[in-house]
């Protein structure tokens, strides 16, 4: 049994069958990549896991509990964090505050009327946030406005915000999309570092084959809403079905 079990998930948008019959099993402490051509349904699948979309059929079990019908914040409280395709951060707040918010969310739950505390006196939370920022080499930027960061740093910050929650499953939707080569390499290094430093389960959607093959333990190839194959990176590389799905993109 994997920590995440997706069984027979299907989703229609009007006349379009975005997901057919998706089965997926993500094992604990592995990096599982989902690849596939544009419009394959990768983002749709991910949105079904985090409560943004409710699938028409099938089940999604996280750690033995169904996530279906729960709202995004409840699913996050179960232990699933997500990184967005374009970094979603609190642009008007400082970098440190950005990281403290998930700390509070983890400690206080989805709502707490903590109106007479003082953020600057929460030394546990401060320390946790600072340690995290140090881990991603952003401590020196702790007091900058998050909105003023470079795109690569925003991504880094968003990852820090997810990691500081110590999620049991981290979902990433194209974390390097639209990034310059240098930023992409930076992000890969960060992800590799995360993978070796922490016991973390990741599920990553990615177009960039370089990223996928340098990170993933297992790869699922999705095409037209159905998984074609699931295997290790070595086996996927030479797989004829994958070449077919990707046409010209398969020279990796």
């Amino acid at each position: 049994m994997g920590i995440l079990e997706v069984k027979g998930v299907g989703k229609r948008f009007g006349g379009l069958q975005a997901l057919g019959d998706v089965n997926l099993s993500v094992q604990e402490n592995t990096v599982h990549a989902i690849i596939g051509p544009n419009g394959a349904g990768k983002s749709t699948l991910l949105n079904c896991l985090v409560g943004k979309l409710i699938p028409d059929t099938g089940s999604v079990m996280f750690d033995g509990q169904s996530v279906l019908g729960r709202s995004p914040h409840e699913i996050n409280q179960m232990g699933i964090s997500r990184v967005f395709q374009t970094p979603e951060i609190f642009a008007d707040l400082t970098v440190l505050e950005n990281v403290m918010i998930p700390c509070f969310a983890r400690r206080d739950g989805s709502f707490r009327m903590h109106a007479f505390g003082s953020v600057v006196n929460e030394s546990d939370m401060l320390q946790k946030a600072e340690t995290m920022l140090d881990d991603v080499n952003m401590l020196s930027k702790a007091h900058l406005h998050a909105g003023s960061l470079s795109r690569g740093d925003k991504r880094r910050l968003e990852m820090a915000m997810c990691l500081v929650q110590e999620p049991r499953l981290l979902l990433l939707d194209e974390p390097t999309a639209g990034m310059a080569r240098a930023d992409t390499n930076n992000t890969i290094d960060l992800l590799k570092e995360i993978k070796t430093k922490r016991d973390i389960t990741m599920c990553i959607i990615e177009h960039d084959m370089h990223v996928v093959f340098s990170l993933a333990d297992r790869i699922t190839v999705l095409a037209q809403g159905t998984p074609l194959v699931e295997d290790t990176p070595q086996n996927i590389k030479g797989h004829p079905k994958v070449r077919e799905a990707y046409l010209g993109e398969a020279q990796v």
Partner: protein
């Protein structure tokens, strides 16, 4: 001090000093000087300063922190006033139960309206709050006449069945509001030289309550709860995927600001025990929006400044008339004098709204951070001048 850092403590102390010494500060001109009309140190106006200060500080907790722009907050103020007057009619002329009831009723009312309105955000939220407030206004004006006394407004009468206290005083008049016997209207006058300073019990009650409200607002701003409210303004999507439920946060902010409005309404009725539907009208809701933006939304002191600024102009500019202008410009040749008066005429007296509108536009265009930003720019200018030798750039401080 009081669980605040140094900067916030000094801010609080400055506000405390300004409000407690307001009878002096707002009365800088001797009574018989030509400038005496610019004095604002009389109880009636000072009470309005601090009461609207409370209203704006509370509004800012919602608008400044979460970014939700309510166009219906006057409804809570009105509800607070009605509750307080009913308390005077039925229970006692003591202001404490009246104020407590007005805060509670306004809070419950805000819970109801907030629960529905917060299903939407942005302009739709604003429209919903506006619709609710107009509904409340119309209800108060006509349908609920038995409770609100409709057009005339709710007033005390000589046969109110007051449980604790008398319906009428020995000399046959309506009793006055008091704080455990201290009459709200009682005023101590101090004549020093040409000046006449007035210290009113009502003003000091309002001022102390305003200071407590301001202190609570500072605490909320600095708390984890306040941080979450700022996060709501920034990125609700990120919040949800960080495990935070945005609805109760916004609703809590809405209810708190509604309670501040109710407190302001209760205090208004405590100073002058009547309540009318016009307090709930959309223009009144718009006024608190103006105050907050003019002073600086999202800053601590901004709403207080904005409230004081607008109330001052409302009272002072509206009092200036053509006669006063002719006096001022009498040193000009006759034709030019008439011309100048003619030009200025639309901006004074009843036309003070025009002046306010222009000021508001100028502030929004050139000082988006409101009067607070103006103050910061000026102080930065001074700092720069001082430190320009060693080349240190003025550090931008977060808006207070």
């Amino acid at each position: 001090m009081f669980g605040l850092n140094k900067k916030d403590t000094s801010l609080l102390l400055v506000v405390a000093a300004l409000t407690l010494f307001a009878p002096f500060i707002l009365n800088p001109f001797p009574t018989d000087s030509g400038l005496a009309q610019f004095n604002a140190g009389y109880p009636d106006l000072m009470q309005r300063f601090v009461i609207f200060g409370i209203f704006a500080v509370g509004f800012n907790i919602l608008f400044g922190l979460t970014g939700y722009l309510s166009f219906g907050h006057a409804a809570f103020l009105g509800v607070g006033s009605y509750s307080a007057v009913w308390m005077f009619k039925l229970l006692s002329m003591n202001v404490i139960p009246a104020i407590i009831l007005s805060v509670i009723v306004a809070g419950l009312f805000a819970l109801l309206i907030g629960f529905v309105s917060l299903r939407r955000s942005g302009i739709y939220f604003s429209i919903l709050t506006l619709a609710f407030a107009q509904m409340s206004f119309n209800l108060a004006y006509s349908v609920l006449t038995p409770i609100t006394n409709g057009e005339t407004g709710l007033q005390l009468t000589l046969d109110d069945p007051r449980i604790l206290g008398v319906s009428a005083t020995a000399d046959g008049s309506i009793p006055v509001t008091s704080l455990f016997g201290l009459e709200m209207r009682s005023t101590y006058e101090m004549a020093v030289g040409g000046w006449n300073f007035q210290f009113s019990a009502g003003y000091y009650l309002c001022a102390i309550i305003m200071l407590v409200s301001f202190y609570i607002a500072v605490r909320i701003f600095r708390s984890p709860f306040g941080l979450m409210l700022r996060a709501v303004k920034c990125n609700q999507n990120r919040m949800r995927y960080t495990g935070l439920n945005t609805r109760p946060y916004t609703l809590a902010a809405f209810v708190i600001s509604g309670m501040y409005a109710g407190l302001a309404g209760g205090l208004m009725a405590s100073m002058d025990p009547l309540a009318g539907a016009e307090r709930m009208q959309w223009t009144a809701s718009g006024e608190v929006v103006l105050m907050t933006i003019l002073g600086g939304a999202g800053t601590l002191i901004g709403p207080v400044l904005g409230a004081g600024f607008i109330k001052y102009f409302e009272n002072i500019f509206s009092k200036i008339n053509d006669n006063v202008l002719h006096q001022w410009f009498s040193w000009l040749p006759d034709g030019i004098e008439d011309f100048v008066v003619f030009i200025i005429h639309p901006f004074i007296g009843k036309g003070w709204h025009l002046t306010l509108g222009i000021l508001f536009m100028l502030v929004v265009i050139y000082l988006p951070g409101g009067l607070v930003e103006g103050g910061q720019r000026i102080s930065r200018l001074f700092k720069k001048n001082k430190s320009s030798d060693d080349g240190a750039a003025a550090k931008t401080t977060p808006a207070e």
